[in-house]
């Protein structure tokens, strides 16, 4: 479609993120909050909608919601209430959800993140508490319903439509997830369903200020797929407007709920009956209002842990890490904590950072594992980097040691090195010198090149010696010896 001028359009994106709070029990009952058990094992009177049951609010859920609100600089509502949202669906044990439509607990707020080197501040509209539904499992000739998840506390965070690209969306979502992790209010595990994202997408010509109709895209199971979905939907809408310039906006793009088809990389409209909803929101009569006091809010505000953005700034200021590296590290709390623990041993902030976010990360990706899943310990990774610092091993050898650590994370790298003679660094000049002599003998042209000012020739010579010594020779010593010998020639 060569006529379509995609660059003349601007995507307008908003995110609605549902996060499961990591409370021990459910939002309105004391049934346990656990993942992965057999169907209908973690249920109670309330979350199966038994006649005569009544909801009672979980105080830990309220606390976590307030902590989140404070962490994003939002306004904590001094008065908030709950409402019934009516719709029929089998995973809904009462056929109404208890949510906060009229008076949410958190209003406003900002999520500050790094998007490809730029700091951006994305405004949040509101965040509120609501209960999760059970799970519908689809089979060919029937569907099965499991209510283990019914009643689990959710916090729904709704952004303003302030994002302008898929990368914006990913940065927002990553930071939001990191904030939740740092506060320890959620595991934010997309694979397990404790973090779910719906994206609202519209487009408009770059100079237009008003918003056009939007489309809601659901069912994306990773940030990567979210980016693809946004791209696909933006293209679809631009194409629609371009090809149908006379149509009403809504007729051109058909607003509604869409899902992302990973295979086709397209967004497809869902037309479930539930779509045209009249939720008939009204005040939940079985719950009483929340009137949060100043002391309570202040106490929580004063005890917030270090947040991702703060840590990001600290890494750059104190540890002198470059911005993009710092951003990657802080983006996942486990990784960041791991890094700090290892740093206490390794002491070289930049080197350790690279090892974690490049070396190990790359290999883990190949294996399809996260750092957490790998079983690697911060202590051992710290020691690995420390050995390089202390010149016990060379960088090259370290890579091999790392490989062994990945295969068996219980192995101490110091032991690995001790046990393998090939890893022992070669620092004996008397052994290296003859090798240097031999290489220089074979590579006369390189000596001439180097003397002519081509520094690359030196690196080549060093490389040859390293190869000959199977990487064990200390690069410093090799360098020193080669230069000395060249001088003498």
């Amino acid at each position: 479609m060569s006529d379509i001028r995609y660059d003349q359009w601007e995507p307008v994106i908003g995110l609605e993120v549902h996060v499961q709070l990591n409370t021990k029990t459910k939002l309105f009952s004391r049934a346990p909050h656990r993942f992965g058990d057999e169907p209908n094992q973690n249920i109670g009177i309330v979350d199966t909608g038994q006649p005569g049951s009544l909801p009672v609010l979980n105080k830990a859920a309220v606390k976590k919601a307030v902590q989140f609100g404070l962490a994003i600089g939002a306004e904590i509502s001094r008065y908030s209430t709950f409402d019934r949202k009516s719709y029929f669906y089998p995973d809904n044990p009462r056929n109404f959800q208890i949510t906060q439509f009229f008076h949410p607990i958190v209003r406003g707020g900002t999520i500050t993140c790094d998007v490809e080197g730029h700091t951006k501040h994305f405004k949040v509209d509101r965040a509120h508490l609501e209960d999760d539904t059970g799970m519908l499992k689809h089979f060919s000739s029937f569907a099965g319903i499991d209510y283990n998840r019914a009643g689990i506390p959710l916090i729904e965070v709704v952004s303003e439509p302030v994002m302008r690209s898929p990368k914006d969306a990913t940065a927002y979502a990553t930071t939001l997830r990191a904030i939740m992790q740092y506060l320890d209010v959620s595991d934010c595990n997309m694979a397990e369903g404790s973090l779910r994202i719906d994206v609202n997408v519209s487009v408009r010509p770059k100079n237009e200020k008003t918003l056009r109709p939007k489309v809601e895209v659901k069912n994306m199971n990773s940030f990567y797929n979210m980016e693809l979905a946004i791209e696909a939907e933006v293209r679809r809408q631009i194409q629609a407007y371009t090809l149908h310039p006379g149509k009403e906006f809504a007729d051109a793009i058909e607003p509604g709920t869409y899902r992302f088809d990973q295979g086709a990389k397209k967004t497809i409209r869902m037309r479930r009956k539930e779509e045209a909803h009249d939720y008939r929101y009204f005040h939940e009569p079985d719950l009483v209002p929340l009137q949060l006091g100043e002391e309570y809010i202040e106490l929580l505000g004063n005890s917030l842990p270090e947040l991702p953005h703060e840590r990001y700034l600290r890494y750059m200021a104190d540890l002198k890490l470059p911005a993009d590296s710092a951003a990657i590290l802080v983006g996942d709390k486990f990784t960041s904590d791991f890094y700090e623990e290892a740093l206490a041993i390794a002491r070289n902030a930049t080197s350790l950072c690279n090892w974690i976010i490049t070396e190990f990360s790359g290999r883990l990706k190949e294996k399809g594992q996260t750092l957490k899943e790998s079983g690697l310990t911060s202590e051992y990774v710290g020691h690995l980097v420390k050995m390089i610092e202390d010149k016990v091993i060379t960088g090259r050898i370290a890579k091999q040691v790392a490989g062994e650590m990945l295969e068996d994370p219980s192995k101490d790298p110091r032991e690995i090195v001790k046990a393998n003679p090939n890893y022992q660094p070669l620092e004996d000049d008397s052994v290296i010198e003859p090798i240097v002599d031999a290489i220089l003998e074979k590579n006369g042209q390189s000596i001439i090149d180097y003397k002519a000012g081509r520094t690359k020739a030196l690196a080549f010579l060093v490389g040859q010696v390293m190869k000959e010594t199977k990487g064990k020779a200390s690069p410093d010593i090799v360098n020193k010896l080669i230069l000395k010998k060249i001088e003498e020639k």
Binding site: P51, G52, V56, R84, R94, N95, F96, I145, R280, F282
Partner: protein, 484 residues
């Protein structure tokens, strides 16, 4: 033994004159003999009650401490959960549903030593004021078997009125305890909202519903209140107050008590009902009370807002009855939508469907502001007006109903049945404690009731004044023919 009050029965049991098993056997025998006439009970706990009674006798033998309801049989309205027993709410939808837990009130009664004797008939899902809206059978009034006992707590009222058992529990949303109490010549009490836990009460209209006792005497009502009005952690709307003092004003003279009467609002009351009410007011004056006129004119909107708000809440409270997790699932349903639509169609009676449709309407887009939101504001206004009226008096007196019990087929127009609640909706609208005490009989020998209403938390005042009236008039001592 069968016409004794709860207090008297407990005394017999405590003194050793009668065992719990004997008392229970006697109640079971009477129920067996007379329930067919009344259709008061939907299920009778023969085995269970005798077992409980035997255990209680054992406890007594061992000298263990016993509650003030020990040995007293009590019937429970079938919208209150008892673990392992059917809680049908007189609906086909739940006719085979067994509650997996005990309502808080049930647990408290059993802890006090009361013997649960059975579940009583009612208007389906508590929607009705007659007792003719049960999916199973209409309940009859012991005073006139061709007449209704009132509703929705029809069976609970009939059981106590017919002396099948001395106590029962009902529920009151717009008058469902007080109106049947008046129609059947017994005492029925709806406490301050929040005084008795709603955990285990199948919800009809959450911000109006309250459980309350039926008894022959006000004294018995106080005994039940002591046993069941404790703070409940599973009900967010439960008050945290000590469960005693309900008899604190017994024996006190009514001298100095100001009783407010909304004569303006009552101007349409006529005939024998009016005569009876005026006579009751005279009695109160004789007892030393001063009566004052109060302005409760906004109550003319009472029925209107009551139906808007309760139907709205009910439409969502009853959404869970969908044939998925429990209850009736239509056999011919072959899709999910059919399960919903057919199960609810088959499972709910007409009155229930009517109210669900009304409730859905008043909440639906476009109409919500005109009806639901407006009704909430009018409710606030009525509460304000009531509060102002209580600045000039301690209690209100109303007739409980505008007439005596009507015949079983007497209510053709549903609007007529809705108007039954005319005098009883005020209390649930404002969450106030209110009682109906027997106040005499019509020329057809059907009972009337006097209603006393107090400010929130003044349950003891209401009970105190009711007892004074009761002691002076003793209408509640009369037993319907064929039931003594």
């Amino acid at each position: 033994m069968d016409t004794l009050t709860a207090k008297q029965l407990n005394a017999l049991f405590s003194s050793g004159e009668a065992s719990a098993v004997e008392i229970t056997k006697q109640a079971l025998a009477k129920i067996d003999k007379l329930n067919l006439k009344l259709s008061a009970f939907l299920s009778v706990f023969e085995e269970r009650s005798l077992k409980s009674a035997a255990l209680l006798d054992e406890k007594k033998q061992k000298g263990e401490p016993l509650g003030r309801l020990a040995g007293v049989p009590i019937a429970i309205k079938d919208n209150i959960a008892i673990e392992g027993e059917i809680t049908s709410c007189a609906s086909k939808f739940l006719e085979n549903y067994r509650s997996p837990y005990d309502a808080t009130v049930v647990r408290l009664l059993e802890e006090d030593g009361a013997i649960l004797i059975g579940k009583t008939n009612m208007d389906e899902f508590a929607m009705g004021a007659s007792g003719t809206h049960s999916a199973f059978s209409p309940t009859r009034n012991p005073w006139d078997l061709d007449c209704v006992p009132g509703g929705s707590s029809s069976g609970s009222a009939a059981a106590v009125s017919g002396r099948l058992c001395p106590l029962s529990l009902g529920s009151d949303t717009g008058g469902s305890i007080r109106q049947p109490a008046a129609f059947t010549g017994i005492v029925g009490f709806k406490p301050t909202y929040g005084r008795i836990s709603r955990y285990g009460l199948v919800a009809f209209a959450s911000s109006f519903d309250q459980i309350g006792p039926f008894a022959q005497t006000v004294e018995d009502v106080a005994l039940v209140m002591e046993a069941v009005s404790r703070h409940c952690e599973r009900d967010s709307t439960s008050l945290n107050l000590p469960p005693n003092g309900f008899d604190a004003q017994f024996g006190q003279s009514l001298k100095g008590t100001k009783i407010g009467i909304p004569w303006g609002f009552l101007e349409d009351l006529k005939g024998e009902a009016r005569q009876n009410f005026e006579k009751s007011v005279a009695t109160l004056t004789e007892l030393g009370a001063e009566t004052v006129d109060v302005d409760l004119s906004l109550l003319k909107y009472g029925i209107g807002i009551y139906y808007i708000l309760t139907s709205a809440e009910a439409s969502t409270n009853l959404a869970r009855y969908d044939g998925i997790r429990y209850g009736k699932r239509a056999k011919e349903a072959s899709s999910l939508e059919e399960i919903y639509e057919m199960s609810r169609q088959e499972g709910f009676g007409f009155e229930v469907k009517n109210r669900i449709m009304l409730g859905t309407y008043v909440l639906s887009g476009g109409f919500k502001d005109a009806y639901y939101s407006k009704a909430q504001k009018v409710r606030a206004l009525i509460i304000q007006q009531i509060r102002r009226a209580f600045e000039n008096c301690n209690l209100f007196a109303f007739p409980t109903t505008a007439g005596t019990a009507f015949t079983l087929d007497g209510m053709r127009d549903p609007l007529d049945e809705y108007l039954q609640d005319l005098y009883t909706v005020a209390a649930p609208i404002a969450g106030l404690p209110a009682i109906s005490v027997p106040s005499g009989f019509s020329t057809e020998k059907k009972p009337f009731g006097l209603q006393l209403v107090g400010p929130q938390l003044h349950d003891a005042s209401v009970l105190g004044a009711a007892r004074a009236f009761e002691q002076a008039t003793r209408f509640g001592e009369k037993i319907p023919g064929g039931f003594s």
